[in-house]
Amino acid sequence: MTQPSTSRRTVLSGLAAGLGMAWAPGARAFGDASLLDIGELQLPGGTTARPSAWQYLLSELERTTSVACEPRAVPVDPGTAALAQHPFTVLLVDAPIPALDGAVVERLAAYLAYGGFLFIDDTTGGQDRDVDRSVRALVQRLFPTRPLATLPGDHAVHRAFFLLKDGTPGRLATAKWMEGVTVGNLAPLVYGRNDLSGALMRSVTGRPSMPCSPGGEDQRREALKVGINLVMYALTANYKKDQAHVRQLILDKRLEAR
């Protein structure tokens, strides 16, 4: 949406308020199963989990957008059918990924081929080259013919909700842009090396768990925008590359015409 003229705001806000009275936010969709949550992949041998980061992200997503969420992170074994219950999954990597069983890789590859989305977050912030190598090895097994590549600045993931013009930072800002595997014109797998979950993670008191460097709180704010865009991209794919959107954004001078 949606910025109709100011003169319409009063009428529309009244309508929206009426709707809000009819339905409490948590009652949306047909049961919890239909609501968006995030699956945290748990690999054999143990995988880092940061559920508070995803809870925070989904809460902000629900507050900011029209998406109906269940703000939770659910541990998911990628070797089971439960994987398909969570079309948005994350894999946090703080140590080299162990070699996965072929059946697990096969199931994960099918999940991504049939519409699932995976965000791999290097929680070392690109500081551990073995972590990076193991991620690339896993991606190579998932997509033998499609290499990871930097997602360009005009990629739909950078426009899915916010306009991300200056990069995709996390707790750190090691790499300006994220990388992804493109199949057709979609990227079902995105790889971030800036420890996004580290920027979003919250303590039990609700405060940020780790400082962001080098940009501090402004960088954290940007990281939240990256997180929201990732979820919106998983939900809307290349919707924001549709001509109607691009044309209007250029007219509004929020994008430069090419």
Partner: protein, 747 residues
């Protein structure tokens, strides 16, 4: 003496045997045996000698006769070479010029040429036949083909001359190439060519539509130009009115001025609103003295196809259901998708801590979409979309009415997909869309069913193309039974009378006491509508794939649903195809009806009722499909004009389906699409062949080749084997031998 010999025998003749060798040798052998049988027996030596000599002479005569000897005499004489006179017998030669048919000019030349030595008359249209024509009604002219056949006809003989009498309206490849600016080589002729051009261009007054082009087919709801070519002899520089007709009624007219050559092009732009075939025609007025009124109108059957299915997907919120449907639609190359997802509500906007320049959001152009643009979409999908958040008071009814009108009156498709902003929860119970939907929508919101359930396939669903995943009913039911459950459904809806419920809740009932409909369809006016009262059909894709069953269930369900919704003819179980778009008056129109079962297998033994309408006339025919699923009808063409055909197919008491088509019956003679004689072409033909051109009004000499004179051989035959003297010879000597033998005491 001549009588005794069977005819006069002159010197210089030649004796020929005409009996086969076998007959001759058999006769010789038989004669020797007979003679040998006469040798035994006691008699005086003289008597014996006389008898055997007489037998020998009689038998020799018999053998001579059996050899069928003929006396042959041949004598040669010089005769002039033959002249082939080819007269055009096509219908254009019957066109009247100044009150007289054009062929009367040819008749004068025919009379003149009868006096020429060695003349043979032939007539032609698209082929060559012997004799001068007595009627002029052939349906085509192909000079190249006709001239090429001369060599075969005369077996390579050199002719003294070839004369072609024609008006030059050659519809074959030779003139077409010449008209295109080429310089084609005419066929090689066995003699020098004289072309006699009949007709006078200025004497013909005729206005004709000579061609209408639309590029073969048109795209639905996309402007297409119907370009008509007019030709007017006697109308050079004049302005005439051309009319475009649809099903016999004038829909457009346009004035057009013919150039100095009497040619003009007029273009009508139309926007087809229905896929399939439609009958059009371009017509010019019939003026007094019009040489060929039959060419004043030219019919055209326009085939309208969908270039792409244009789909508008409006979603009230991003969700997995929205994402998977968009993914499916985007992945189908036959779909042109325009999506609008509501990414932020007004509540979100008010509470936002983000600046607008940080956002990649655009205004939802709902007003344009649902007024000026709505007609461009074959299918509109409302996916969990609550109009109340956007449509202002007073305009909601107007905008939703536009959607309703596009379906009911425009023949488009509409789907409402469930969710917390759909059906009763979107407040649609009191909107114009309530009239459209295949479910009755409660005017007040009802708490939805939030427990997952396995939808049940209804009896109608087992047959319907939307939910028929496989041809085998048992397998189809098993397919639906094993699909991943859906997460919930609406409670504020109920089955609508006249709609077809395909999937229903296994236990939950609506206010009407019937199971809650989950998937229902309905033909609404000219269009079609579907309700999917769930927001988790996406699980038929990802969850099924996770179980190792792929996503075929999801793809087939949506693909079949869309094809049914947009009334894609290929998705119909019954099709009807005319063999020809334009059927000549008097010839039968051949129509092929094909029927398929729900699994799209060809269906035999189905009863077909065919209704053919032309204006208010109606004709009903019936038939039965054969094992190959086809029923063929041959319908006499007794009247001109567009004929609309409706086929209805039943198998037993079950309705298989219906189909419509159109064809045109025309009395137009292709030979008469042009009426002005083309003497320029004939001059070129004569010159290119090294011959002579003469106009019919001239009385010049035709070109002749003296070297083509030939020797004619007269042959005289006398059949000696029938000569009386030979019969007398045989009988005489045989009689003498017999008498001598009897005198000798033998029998």
């Amino acid at each position: 003496m001549a009588w005794w010999l069977g005819g006069e025998l002159a010197a210089g003749g030649e004796l020929l045997r005409t009996a086969p060798d076998g007959v001759v040798w058999s006769a010789v052998l038989g004669a020797l045996v007979a003679w040998g049988l006469a040798v035994p027996g006691e008699r005086r030596p003289l008597m014996r000698a006389v008898e055997l000599v007489a037998w020998g002479l009689a038998l020799a005569g018999l053998v001579f006769a059996l050899a069928r000897p003929v006396w042959v005499e041949e004598a040669g004489r010089q005769v002039p070479g033959r002249v082939a006179v080819l007269v055009d017998a096509s219908a254009s030669m019957a066109i009247e010029e100044e009150g007289r048919p054009r062929h009367t000019q040819a008749a004068a030349w025919i009379e003149q040429l009868r006096a020429e030595p060695g003349v043979e008359f032939l007539q032609f249209g698209e082929r060559l036949d012997p004799g001068a024509p007595t009627t002029f009604d052939r349906g085509g002219t192909d000079l190249a083909s006709v001239l090429s056949s001369l060599d075969d006809r005369y077996a390579g003989e050199r002719l003294a001359g070839v004369v072609v009498i024609t008006d030059g309206i050659d519809r074959g490849r030779l003139r077409a190439a010449w008209q295109a600016g080429d310089d084609p080589e005419p066929p090689r002729l066995p003699g020098p060519l004289t072309v006699v051009g009949v007709g006078s261009k200025g004497a013909v007054r005729d206005l004709a539509v000579v061609g209408v082009e639309a590029g073969g087919y048109a795209y639905l709801r996309t402007p297409v130009s119907l370009e008509a070519r007019l030709s007017g002899s006697g109308f050079e520089g004049q302005t005439v009115r051309a009319e475009l007709l649809r099903d016999g009624a004038v829909v457009r007219s346009q004035d057009v001025t013919l150039d100095d050559a009497g040619q003009a092009t007029v273009t009508f732009k139309v926007v087809p609103q229905e896929a399939g075939r439609s009958a059009w025609a371009v017509r010019v007025p019939t003026y007094d003295g019009d040489a060929v009124p039959g060419n004043d109108e030219l019919p055209l059957v326009l085939r309208v196809v969908r270039d792409q299915i244009r789909v508008l997907q409006v979603a009230g919120s991003p969700s997995w259901d929205v994402k998977f449907l968009r993914r499916f639609l985007k992945g189908d190359p036959s779909v042109e998708l325009v999506s609008f997802f509501i990414l932020r509500t007004w509540d979100d906007a008010r509470a936002s801590r983000w600046g607008d320049d940080e956002l990649s959001l655009i205004a939802f152009p709902y007003r344009d979409l649902f007024t000026s643009e709505i007609g461009n979409f074959d299918l509109v999908v409302f996916q969990n979309f609550d109009y109340r958040e956007f449509f202002g008071q007073g305009e909601a009814a107007e905008l939703l009415q536009n959607v309703r009108d596009q379906v009911v009156e425009g023949g488009h498709g509409f789907v409402m997909v469930g969710g917390d902003r759909s059906f009763d929860l979107g407040g649609y119970g009191t909107t114009p869309l309530a009239e459209l939907l295949p479910v009755q929508v409660a005017s007040a919101e009802r708490p939805p069913v939030v427990e997952p359930f396995q939808p049940t396939l209804t009896a109608a669903g087992a047959r319907h193309v939307v939910t028929r995943m496989t041809a085998d009913p048992v397998e189809n039911e098993a397919w639906w039974a094993r699909l991943h459950p859906v997460d919930g459904t609406h409670r504020g809806i109920a089955t609508r009378p006249g709609a077809t419920v395909l999937l229903e809740h296994p236990s939950a009932k609506g206010d009407d006491g019937k199971p809650l409909p989950v998937v229902a369809v309905r033909e609404a006016g000219k269009g079609r509508a579907m309700a999917l009262a769930a927001d988790s059909s996406w699980r038929w894709s990802l969850s099924e794939a996770a179980e190792g069953r792929g996503n075929q269930a999801y793809l087939r369900f949506w693909k079949q649903a869309i094809r049914w919704l947009i009334q894609d003819p290929t998705a119909e179980r019954v099709t009807i195809d005319p063999e020809r778009d334009n059927v000549p008056l008097g010839q039968p129109a051949r129509l092929v009806v094909r029927a398929r079962d729900a699994g799209f297998q060809l269906l035999g033994d189905a009863r077909v009722e065919l209704t053919i309408r032309r204006g208010t006339d109606e004709q009903v025919l019936s038939g039965v499909t054969g094992p190959e699923g086809e029923a063929v009808f041959e319908v006499p063409s007794t009247h001109r004009g567009a004929h609309r055909v409706h086929a209805s197919v039943l198998r037993g008491s079950d309705r298989v389906g219906e189909a419509d088509t159109v064809y045109a019956v025309t009395s137009r003679d292709p030979e008469l699409e042009e009426v002005a004689p083309d003497h320029a072409y004939l001059r070129w033909l004569a010159g290119r062949s090294g011959g002579t051109f003469l106009s019919a009004s001239e009385r010049g000499a035709i070109a002749r080749d003296p070297s083509a004179d030939r020797t004619a051989w007269d042959r005289k035959e006398v059949a000696l084997w029938r000569a009386p003297i030979l019969m007398l010879w045989i009988a005489g000597f045989a009689g003498v031998a017999w008498i001598v033998r009897r005198r000798g005491g033998l029998r």
